[in-house]
Amino acid sequence: MTVSPSLDERFRAAAAAAELLDVAYDVLPDTPVGTLLVGVTDRGVCRISFDPEPEHHLELLARIFGPRVLRSSKPVDRVRRELDEYFEGRRQHFDVEPDVRGVPEYYRRVLDELARVEYGTTTTYGTLAALTGNPRAARAVGTVMNRNPIPIVLPCHRVIGASGSLTGYGGGLDRKEHLLRLEGAIL
């Protein structure tokens, strides 16, 4: 006798409804950029990852946000809907707040600037570095982009090399290219 899928889902929904979760996460299969793992807190979206294997995230999420990390679909609905609209080209700005607890102070400043880079445009690592007070820190900005906990919503795909080359992306260059094409930033 094992727990039936419907009982399991009922418990997960009840846990979220009772507001007992530090992080609710869900796996979004088959988006245009592959399967995503999305985590949310009561403050907003705290994680989007191109690596959808929960095992790779649970410990870290528990350490940052608290141990009550549980897969639960309902709390993720809002982000799911906004991402769907974005992928369909019907949304240019995310309304859900990013929850960047656990991100070091310098990284946070860079991510704040990043959040201002508009849909359909690009900027460079050097520009972001200059905006956050150290024009020579382009490489450090690259590191921040690489460790961005909430890609797509915090649009690190809009940051490219000064030469115009796409340079790199934590989720792989093909994904970066896909997102920039979707936004009409490249042809």
């Binding site: 006798m1 094992t2 009982l7 846990a15 530090d22 649970l58 528990a62 009550r68 897969r71």
Partner: protein
């Protein structure tokens, strides 16, 4: 380090459900299952370490079984003293056993607080019937010694 709740839940949900099913039948087991893990979730941030989580969740489940039995007793009926005697509330037993090593404590509470048999306690503690019997009697010996 307390494991993420998801890990804890996935590790224990099936055996907790089986345990509840044996004691309550399938219908009530579903409600008791949900209540067990909701209570665990409420108490989870207050845990100081991640040891003995299995004994802990079975203790919660056992308590819910007792609550369930109390609820089902029709109003106005004379209390069945023998049953009441056999099931001192967890609250009564818990403070007395505070100083026991966790495994002995769980065995004593599940045996004398919840009237589980040793096979069930063994299952709850992830060991055997005879190990559960030994843990309970070691716990009782230790309590006697502390009383003197």
């Amino acid at each position: 380090m307390i494991p993420p709740f998801e890990t804890f839940y996935e590790t224990h949900r099936d055996e907790v459900y089986r345990f509840l099913g044996r004691r309550l039948g399938r219908q009530s087991a579903e409600d008791a299952f949900q209540e067990t893990f909701l209570r665990a979730l409420r108490a989870y941030p207050r845990l100081e370490h991640g040891e003995h989580l299995r004994a802990w969740v079975f203790t919660i489940a056992s308590r819910i079984i007792v609550d369930d039995a109390r609820r089902r007793k029709p109003e106005g009926e004379l209390p069945e003293l023998a049953v009441e005697d056999g099931l001192p509330a967890f609250e009564d037993l818990a403070p007395l056993t505070d100083d026991l090593p966790p495994k002995e404590r769980a065995a004593v509470v599940l045996r004398y607080g919840y009237d589980l048999d040793y096979a069930e306690i063994g299952a709850a503690l992830g060991s055997t019937e005879s190990a559960a019997r030994q843990a309970a009697s070691a716990g009782v010996r230790r309590l006697r010694k502390e009383q003197q």
